[in-house]
Symmetry: D3
Subunit: 140 residues, 6 copies
């Protein structure tokens, strides 16, 4: 029984800001720096979703990448692409739109659909810039 | 007299939208697609500025890259990074914030400072995503 | 009148070989090296299509990237993606499937559709590997 | 005793298809999509081989990268580069040429040679496109 | 309690050689190959520092990337950038300047400052070329 | 007669410094910044050599990439890779080792060999870092 990990990348472009209404502008600037700009800024995000499993003897697939891509597009790209992460996204409402928090929320959205497609979600990598990214393994 | 072209890359992250107030939402959506989202979206932009000239016999430099980097940072990165290109940028006011138009405006801002530093601006390349970029040579 | 150049990247994965039936295997190997393997090899190709024009004053667009992307997908990606460039592609029949020749043929296919969409085709860049690519400007 | 992980990348270009002779064309298309094209397609593959170990006190090396590169070239690049993965490769005969299965087979080929060179194989990453890759840690 | 891993990339350009004074030139060449050139060679290094932790409920941050970037710049980039790794760097004196050894030394320098900033150092990835990199997890 | 441009990338890793012996250390630091470090620094250089021509009707080649690669390796990579550009390279002796100057010297070395192989040298692009590169078209 040979476990293999397969990863699919998808991309989305979105606006966000890091800003707490219950803090003064000064404190927001001190903690969040330029990311606290009230009028938003944005990024080209890339998300890498890793699924683990034993390759199916007939197909050689851990999961059909068509299915994995469909799940990511339905659950992540469609709701986030060309959106404002603070304003437009139901599952991010009331949550500080840090890369860390987005990754955690995405995990919760795609875990079950991936299981229904026969895979086990292993990791999410969310890349904000060429210099910054987060990885999430379900919290362990 | 050997002309060489030297290029410096700098990056900025910004929000924008493509939306005309004098058009209906339907027409905005039809023409600008997802880029017309009222609540903005954003990108990691990369700007490549190319300067041409004959290398200085003493330094081997067409232009000192420290000077070129300073000009790009003062004139482009400082005003655009972590900003909303439609709302926050004086030199883009009243201009549709397409990649094409931003490149043209940036050219006009940095041409003279580069000449004062002894170089000749040859090209601006403005990259919006891994799939889209524009190049501008001063309009010729 | 400010001419700007805008580029769209699309990708396709294809098999091909460089092999002349009218040559011996030895000569094929001598000229084409490993690329002459009778059973094919393949690449992840990336095509960059550059269109030039003056940005439309209302939209800021040289050409609507949606239109440009549709043209490239209809004329290039659909016929070439996951295909055998020697066997499966009508417009490459009887042509040595070198990167140079593919770029020339692609130019002839997309020039008129781009003109109908209001742009002027300026350049095709066809990338075969991270180490090899060709550029074509219409033959000039 | 400080364990460090060192990785070497090598690349190869190959053709393959995902197609079962014991299935109808319709079922092949349904499961494998465009990858089932009978006339093959291809990719620029990149393989990353990770070896773990304690750096040798005299050389600072976990493994000499020259040795690691030689092993990968002898065992992987030579048999796979510019080849048809379904037809030309002895150690892939009778195996569905999915990225998952190739990674597993490569592991079995290079594990012992790496041990003879004094290292311990830790991971293989096989990249098929910028959007798809697999990782294999020996099956655990 | 959801552990997330966040990574910051920084870069530096440095010269080094792999050469033991207590070995003959022949043995140095045999073991270290071209890297033993007495007059040095160099690289564009990229360092990725990964910190793990539970996102702060107020900020959504595992660690403030400004703090992480400052630590890497103070402890790694400042002492290594545009330096000779064999001659100019106090904390590498007497150590073979292999990528493996540099990664281990960097770990020891930044572990405590990262803890003081509220994070836990999880991994260092040090990239020497597009084909070679090492990863270090503290020795486990 | 369709002119196509074909480009081959090769890489080398080298040490250099920007320093004039006839200047004080202060002036060297003022003009060349960190690049004036007496003990050298280094880079992963990438060189892109572009050759133009009409594809051969029999082969579809502007130039055989095997020949182009051999020329670049013999004339550029062999003398520069894992070398000190100020000390070890005959054709750079007495020349400030700026990227601009290296590109000009490389042009003069490979122009004739490329012509003998049936091509016309069109451009050299020499990349020093992800942020800095020069292009040279023979001086025009």
């Amino acid at each position: 029984m040979k476990t293999v990990y397969i990863t699919r990348r998808e991309t989305f472009n979105a606006a966000h800001k890091l800003y707490r209404e219950d803090w003064s502008d000064e404190k927001n600037l001190e903690v969040f720096g330029k990311c606290s700009n009230k009028n938003w800024h944005g990024h080209n995000f890339a998300i890498y979703v890793t699924v683990k499993g034993v390759p199916n003897p007939e197909t050689g697939f851990v999961i059909n990448l068509k299915d994995l891509s469909d799940i990511i597009n339905d659950e992540v790209i469609e709701p986030l692409d060309h959106k404002n992460l603070n304003l437009d996204v139901l599952f991010l409402k009331g949550i500080m739109a840090s890369t860390e928090n987005i990754a955690v929320q995405v995990w919760d959205r795609i875990k079950t659909p991936i299981e229904k497609a026969g895979g086990v979600l292993s990791k999410i990598k969310l890349v904000e810039t060429e210099n910054n990214f987060v990885e999430y393994y379900g919290g362990e």
